[in-house]
Structure formats: structure tokens, C-alpha cells
């Protein structure tokens, strides 16, 4: 983990992260400034380099100084002179840029001591953040393409497939189907032309691990794919990358060129008689195109609509030819399994779910970012140990896994292990690996509505239950969030949800009701509060909340009136300010800007607070804030 660049033992390297998150924090400028400063000061033995995402974008832009392994967070261009003079020249690391542990409040200088990383086990992301993704030599120096050599020189396709089967690897694209088995199906079909596809469409609106893998370590995906193509007997490969990922497209294209030049791709790979021609296809923005049959339709230039299976892609896939399609993470695991052996891999994880899984941990959590953990880890360990718990002393409410197709699990599931079976049993799923943590301020009805609005809009429209049914469910949920729900809605939602699951062709429709069904199962009280009391317990649904300025607290400073985007606040110097409830758009700005020492703005649901009708002087005899219903 702490290896500096190969062959340059006494040199030091500053690796600046140039993943998408850090680039938006100006990490390219930081890299340039570092290079300039090192040159200006005439320092020897120091290389300035960049890497892909470290998975800790929250702390970005980040930089690691190797071989010491010092980890800097929130670096700006202004910090560059100090890093160069104090650390690189005088050997005194810049303490104020160390990572601060959110629980203990301690500054932690070394990358390997940070809990966020030390509890992880990185196999898929093994190289991300440690190599320059635009240099094939960096990948090779860390053992890259050794697995491909071994496969081409020593193994038959059937041996490769058997190894995969023995490793127990299951697809990381959602369904969790045995990868070895999938390859076997395609291998068994005799055909002149077969295709290998890498699914990099990653449509889940809260997951970005496939992207980070392609941006941070593109060659591992290519190597895995080449091994897969050899195993099934494909001579053409397609990587289907989501349109919103321009950097990933760029790095994968570059990697293909480098691999072709080095003889790892193209004609007669490494002198064998196996050839593979690799293509990149850019998606055009449709979640449903992540579904394998839709994806193939899209490559063929059609509307990306799923079709019924059988025939499975293994017999009739792209242009009717036998095709295997695997997720980025599944393929990125393949070279490691070949290199370290099936037994080693099968030793990680649980009985039925082997290896590691990657999650994009977001929401109300202290350390958000990409994590890779062994299967079987408890949700509690992910959230409280790696994630550092819920910030702001708030209470945990739920964790959502599986993206828009998954479900929300309550606190009672925190101690259950994470694997394909247990999550499905609880009504959620492993899915693509989004993991969203919710606290007491998150409204479960609104979250269910949010996810459904996403799947509803992304339904391809082929099946009536999916197209029309999800719309009906969404209408009901919107009504409930507006405070217009009726008692019968809950039963109706349950019925619709189950019918849609039963009557849809592809997994989009089959899973779309999950967020609604699980919140109904675990958080029914919140639905009831919305419907019966017209109250949003989390104070989140705009139609059910109101903002008030408490007359006994307002000091008439006028900040809220200035900031209110709707001009809903009247007042004046030293006057108690009043919110016009008709005009208020419930944006919450006033609550945020009111100085904490006054704390005069309050948010309520299901109650009204008595306030003066018009602004009155602060000094005047004022009515005490009282609650009326």
C-alpha cells in the first residue's frame, strides 16, 4: 500500500487525487502548482503525480505522500507552498491538513491509520488511488496483466471457468448470478462469433464505484474482460459506459490504446492465437439500459427496451450472437482471483456470498465515500465504524441499500450481516451498491416518493403495470406528502406494489415498488401521521410544515428578511419580524441564517404558533410564544 513508484526507492512521490470529485475541487491546479513549486525550489528526488479516486471524496481534494503514507485532506492551491517548504523540503508534515477523526476529534497523519480505510478490505479497488491511471506501467508494476499471461500460457478456457466457479464469485451488477456459471453457458454454445460486454452504465442515482474503478484503474477492467472473452471464446468486446462519465470514457479509451500497443489487446495477444477487439460505447442516459437486454438493444442503435428471456444472452445476445455481459466490479475481481487462486477468494465473505462488496456510503453520515468490505460485515460496523456514525448528534433512522430498487431497513437490522440473501429477505437488495444513511430529519414517505419518481420516469413503457402502475403509486404518494392522503391509500399502495412486482417484465418494474413496500413495512406510523394527522414527523414535507419567527426571541436584526428568496418576511430595524405564510415557499433559509444566539426561527408540522400579525417593536410588551392547535 505504501509502495512508491517502482525502481525509485529513495524518491518520494506526491500523489494528488484526480478523480471527478477532487477535480471539481481544483485538484488539477493543485498538481500543477506543486510541480511548479518543487521545481522553483530546486528540490531533488520528488515526483508529483496523480491518481484516480481514493473513495474519500468528502475530504477532497486529497493527496498522499509516498512512501511515508501521509494523507492530506481538503488541500487548496494556497496550501501548496507550505506543503513544499515545510514537508517536502524540511521534513515537517503540515498538521493542519491531516484528517480529523469525526468521533475522537484526533488528527491522524497516516493513511493506513484512518479508520475509514483500516476497516476496509480492498480487492476491486486495490489500485485505485495508488497508481497513475493513465500509465500502463504503473498497473504492470503492481502485478497487472500477470493473470492474463497465466491464463493465455497455462490455462484452457474450461480451466478458467472452473476457477471462477470454485471462487464463488457472484455478479456485482445486482442479480448476483454465479459468474463462472454464466461464462459456462456461453462457452457451451458453439458459434463463430461471440461477444463480451462490460456493463458500465451505472444508473443508480447515488452510486459511483464503477466510475471510480474505471477512472482510477482502467486496466484491471480491461484485463478482466480479456480473460472473460478468452474463456467464452469472444473476439469482440464492448464497454458500455454511461454518458455522464466523460472522464471514465477518456481513461478507458486511453487504456485500450496502451494495452493494444503493449500487446495485451488486439490481434494475437501475447503471441497466442487469441485475439480481442475492444470498443467503447457511450450510453445516452437511460437507467433501464443497465438491464442487459436493453443495453444490447442500445448498442444496436435502438430504443433501449428490455425483452423477455429466454432466449438468454448466452445463446442469443448482441445481434443474435452468444454474448456474456458482466458488471465492471465483477470483471475487476477476475484478475485477482486468477492471480491469487480460487481458494483464497472463497475464503473471504460468507458461505453463499464470497469476496468483497463495494458501497457508496452517503446521506447523513460522517465519512461518506466509497468503501469495500468483506461480505457478511454487519451494517452497524459499516455505519458506525467505517462511516463514523451520524453527524450532529442526530438519531439513526434507516439505511437504504440497492438504490431505487432497494428498500429502507430500520435500526433492528443493524446487526444483520450484509450479503445477497439477508438483504433480499429484509425486502431490500444488494443491487448496485448505493448505501444511503437516513437520520431523524429524513421523511420516509418522501424518500419512498423520491425513489419511485426516479424509477417511474425511467420505466421504458413496455409493460402496463410498470408504466401505469408506478404512476398511480407516485400520484398517491404525492398526495400523501401534500397532506391529502386518505385512509385507504395504504392498502392500495400495498396492492399496487405487489401487482407491479408480479406483472413486470424486467427487474426495473419488479423492484420499483421496493422502497414503498419496505417503508410501509417498517415505518407505517409515518404514513399514518401524514394521512391522519396531516403531520410530517421528520418536518420535511413542504406542504405540511410551516416556519414561524418566535416573537420572544426575535431581535429584529433583519437577516432573514434580507435572505428570504420569496420576500415573505416583513419587519424592520428592531421590529419583530413576521412570516407571511401565504408567500412562504418553505425553503428553510430563514431558519438557517437566523443567528444561533437568537434562534428565533422555528419549524413545525401539524401545529400553528401564535405570532403578531404585523411587525411590532422588539421592546414592546410582547405576547409570549404559545402553541395553539
Amino acid at each position: 500500500m505504501t509502495a512508491a513508484k517502482p525502481g525509485k526507492k529513495d524518491r518520494r512521490t506526491v500523489f494528488v487525487c484526480q478523480g471527478t470529485g477532487c477535480v471539481s475541487g481544483k485538484s488539477i491546479e493543485i498538481t500543477e502548482a506543486l510541480a511548479r513549486a518543487v521545481k522553483e525550489q530546486g528540490l531533488d528526488g520528488i515526483d508529483i503525480d496523480f491518481t484516480g479516486c481514493h473513495g474519500f471524496c468528502e475530504q477532497g481534494p486529497v493527496a498522499i505522500i509516498e512512501p511515508e503514507g501521509i494523507f492530506y485532506t481538503h488541500v487548496t492551491v494556497n496550501d501548496v507552498p507550505e506543503i513544499v517548504t515545510s514537508h517536502l523540503r524540511d521534513g515537517k508534515p503540515v498538521e493542519r491538513l491531516f484528517y480529523i477523526d469525526p468521533v475522537s476529534g484526533q488528527a491522524i497523519p497516516l493513511y493506513k491509520d484512518i479508520k475509514f480505510y483500516s476497516m476496509q478490505q480492498r480487492i476491486i479497488l486495490r489500485n485505485c488511488g495508488h497508481i497513475n491511471p493513465e500509465r500502463i506501467d504503473d498497473y504492470i508494476a503492481r502485478g497487472g496483466y500477470e493473470a492474463l499471461k497465466k491464463v493465455l500460457k497455462e490455462m484452457t478456457p474450461q480451466q478458467v471457468i472452473d476457477t471462477l466457479k470454485a471462487s464463488g464469485l457472484r455478479g456485482r451488477g445486482g442479480a448476483g448470478f454465479s459468474t463462472g456459471q454464466k461464462w459456462q453457458f456461453c462457452y457451451d454454445v458453439k458459434a463463430k462469433q461471440k461477444y463480451m460486454i462490460c456493463n458500465a452504465d451505472e444508473g443508480d442515482p447515488g452510486a459511483f464505484m464503477d466510475r471510480s474503478t474505471m477512472e482510477g484503474d482502467p486496466h484491471t477492467v480491461l484485463e478482466g474482460m480479456t480473460i472473460a472473452a478468452y474463456a467464452i471464446g469472444a473476439s469482440e468486446g464492448y464497454i458500455y459506459i454511461r454518458a455522464e462519465y466523460p472522464l471514465a470514457v477518456k481513461r478507458v479509451r486511453l487504456a485500450i490504446k496502451q494495452a493494444e500497443k503493449a500487446g495485451y489487446l488486439g490481434k494475437n495477444i501475447l503471441g497466442s492465437d487469441f485475439s480481442l477487439n475492444m470498443h467503447v460505447k457511450e450510453g445516452a442516459g437511460a437507467f433501464v439500459c443497465g438491464e442487459e437486454t436493453a443495453l444490447m438493444a442500445s448498442i444496436e442503435g435502438k430504443r433501449g427496451m428490455p425483452r423477455s428471456r429466454p432466449p438468454f444472452p448466452a445463446t442469443s445476445g448482441l445481434w443474435g450472437k452468444p454474448t456474456t455481459i458482466n458488471n465492471v466490479k465483477s470483471l475487476a475481481t477476475v484478475p485477482v482471483i486468477i492471480a491469487r487462486g480460487a481458494d483464497w477468494y472463497a475464503g473471504i465473505g460468507t458461505e453463499k456470498s464470497k469476496g468483497t462488496c463495494v458501497f457508496a456510503l452517503t446521506g447523513k453520515i460522517a465519512n461518506s465515500g466509497l468503501i469495500e468490505v468483506p461480505m457478511g460485515i454487519k451494517l452497524r460496523d459499516i455505519i458506525y465504524e467505517i462511516g463514523g456514525g451520524i453527524p450532529g448528534g442526530k438519531k439513526f433512522k434507516a439505511v437504504q441499500t440497492g438504490g431505487p430498487s432497494g428498500g429502507c431497513l430500520p435500526e433492528s437490522y443493524l446487526d444483520s450481516p450484509v450479503n445477497y440473501e439477508s438483504l433480499t429477505e429484509a425486502g431490500s437488495m444488494m443491487g448496485s451498491g448505493g448505501m444511503v444513511v437516513m437520520d431523524e430529519d429524513t421523511c420516509m414517505v418522501d424518500i419512498a416518493r423520491y425513489f419511485l419518481s426516479f424509477t417511474q420516469a425511467e420505466s421504458c413503457g413496455k409493460c402496463v403495470p410498470c408504466r401505469v402502475g408506478t404512476k398511480q403509486m407516485l400520484d398517491i404518494l404525492e398526495r400523501i406528502c401534500r397532506g391529502e392522503g386518505v385512509k385507504e391509500d395504504i392498502a392500495l399502495l400495498e396492492k399496487l406494489g405487489n401487482d407491479i412486482k408480479a406483472g413486470s417484465l424486467c427487474a426495473l418494474g419488479q423492484t420499483a415498488p421496493n422502497p414503498v413496500l419496505t417503508t410501509l413495512r417498517y415505518f407505517k406510523d409515518e404514513y399514518e401521521a401524514h394521512i391522519e394527522e396531516k403531520r410530517c414527523p421528520a418536518l420535511s414535507c413542504a406542504s405540511l410544515i410551516s416556519f414561524y419567527i418566535l416573537p420572544d426571541k426575535c431581535q429584529g436584526c433583519g437577516i432573514c428578511a434580507r435572505e428570504c428568496p420569496a420576500d415573505a418576511i416583513t419587519g424592520g430595524k428592531r421590529l419583530i419580524h413576521v412570516i407571511d405564510q401565504e408567500k412562504c415557499v418553505k425553503c428553510g433559509t430563514c431558519l438557517e441564517v437566523c443567528p444561533t444566539r437568537f434562534g428565533a426561527v422555528t419549524k413545525v408540522s401539524g401545529e400553528t404558533i401564535e405570532v403578531p400579525k404585523e411587525p411590532i417593536p422588539v421592546t414592546a410588551e410582547k405576547p409570549k410564544a404559545g402553541t395553539a392547535t
Partner: protein, 196 residues
């Protein structure tokens, strides 16, 4: 919430929508420009239907949207019906039927951004620009759209302004960003106070 006009079309589209409603060139000069650029892109591809999406991506990359003239030309080139081109265009979120504004505003409504109030930010943009998502201001200064996660969730709520992700964009920052463009109207509007 995610639904905009072209997406609704996706779910209805089966030919009863004609292309007559699609944006066309405003004048002869623009038409010539469109035809010329489209032809340049077409030259890079052979006449195979599998290239339809890359062609559309190429043309949109050049023109910023897909005008009627381009779609007709492409259909002609590939030897397929115009409605088949249109049906692919309306299926994928990436394709735009409206000419782009000078500045593009993309409000993230991914999960993390939603939880931090991305929808409130979207409302603020709509209110200030007086357009809906998927539309362009009449002066073609701004176009507004939504995206689902741009991978900077830790900076939520995110708005991507001209390709640059801006973090913590709450309604007050919307005004700030607009002022940065010299969009004074935002301020004037505010003084006049909002009418519903």
C-alpha cells in the same frame, strides 16, 4: 419530479406524435449551418443503423441540440423512417430537442442531493429563470435541466454550472451564481417581490 416533456413522450411514443412539433431552424442561415454540420458528422460513419446513437451524439455535440432538419437528414442517410430517429431521440435523456442556452444549469437530484434539499434548489432556479427544467430562457442565455448524481454527493446539494459542479447550492447561492453572470434581473425581481 424527474419527468420532463421528452421523457413523457418516451412512454407514449408510438408514432402518433409527428415530428412537426419539433424545433426547426429559425431562418435560412441557421438551416444551412445545421445541414452543413450534420453532413460533416455523417461522413464519419458508414450507413449502418447501429451508428444512429453515436451520430446523434456527434450532432448534438456540435449543435447543442437535435433540430428537425438534422433528424431528417440522419434518417435519410441511414435509410430509416424519421419517426424511428425521433423515437430514439425521445427515449434517451441525453438528447435535447431545445436549443441550448449560453450557460447550462444542471441541478442534481440524486439521492444525496435530494436528502439535502436539491428540489428546493431546483425550485429556486425555476423561479429565478422563469423556465421549467428541460427548457431554455427565451433570450437563450440559460438552459435548465436535472441530472441524477454527478458523483460529488459529498458536496450536496450540487448544481453543475457550465460543466463545473458547484457544491452547497442553496437558494441564496442560486442568486449569487446568477449575479456572477451579471444576471441582474434576479435582483430586480426580488425587490419587486414575488407574485405567485
Amino acid at each position: 419530479m424527474f419527468l420532463d416533456k421528452s421523457r413523457q413522450l418516451r412512454q407514449n411514443c408510438s408514432g402518433q406524435y409527428t415530428m412537426s412539433k419539433v424545433n426547426s431552424a429559425a431562418n435560412e442561415k441557421e438551416r444551412k449551418h445545421i445541414v452543413k454540420e450534420t453532413e460533416t458528422i455523417l461522413k464519419r460513419f458508414t450507413r449502418k443503423k447501429q451508428y444512429l446513437i453515436p451520430i446523434l451524439q456527434g450532432v448534438q455535440g456540435k449543435l447543442g441540440y437535435l433540430p428537425r432538419e438534422s433528424m431528417l437528414k440522419i434518417a435519410d442517410y441511414l435509410g430509416i423512417a424519421a419517426i424511428d430517429v425521433y423515437s430514439v431521440v425521445t427515449f434517451y435523456n441525453q438528447f435535447r430537442l431545445n436549443p441550448p442556452g449560453k450557460h447550462s444549469i444542471r441541478v442534481c437530484l440524486g439521492t444525496a442531493c435530494h436528502m439535502k434539499g436539491g428540489y428546493i434548489t431546483l425550485d429556486a432556479w425555476k423561479r429565478r429563470l422563469k423556465i421549467d427544467s428541460g427548457e431554455t430562457t427565451p433570450d437563450r442565455e440559460f438552459d435548465l435541466d436535472i441530472v441524477a448524481c454527478v458523483g460529488c454527493c459529498t458536496m450536496a446539494p450540487v448544481t453543475v454550472v457550465d460543466e463545473k459542479p458547484e457544491g452547497q447550492v442553496e437558494p441564496t447561492r442560486v442568486d449569487g451564481l446568477l449575479l456572477g453572470f451579471g444576471y441582474e434581473e434576479g435582483k430586480k425581481e426580488k425587490e419587486k417581490s414575488e407574485s405567485k
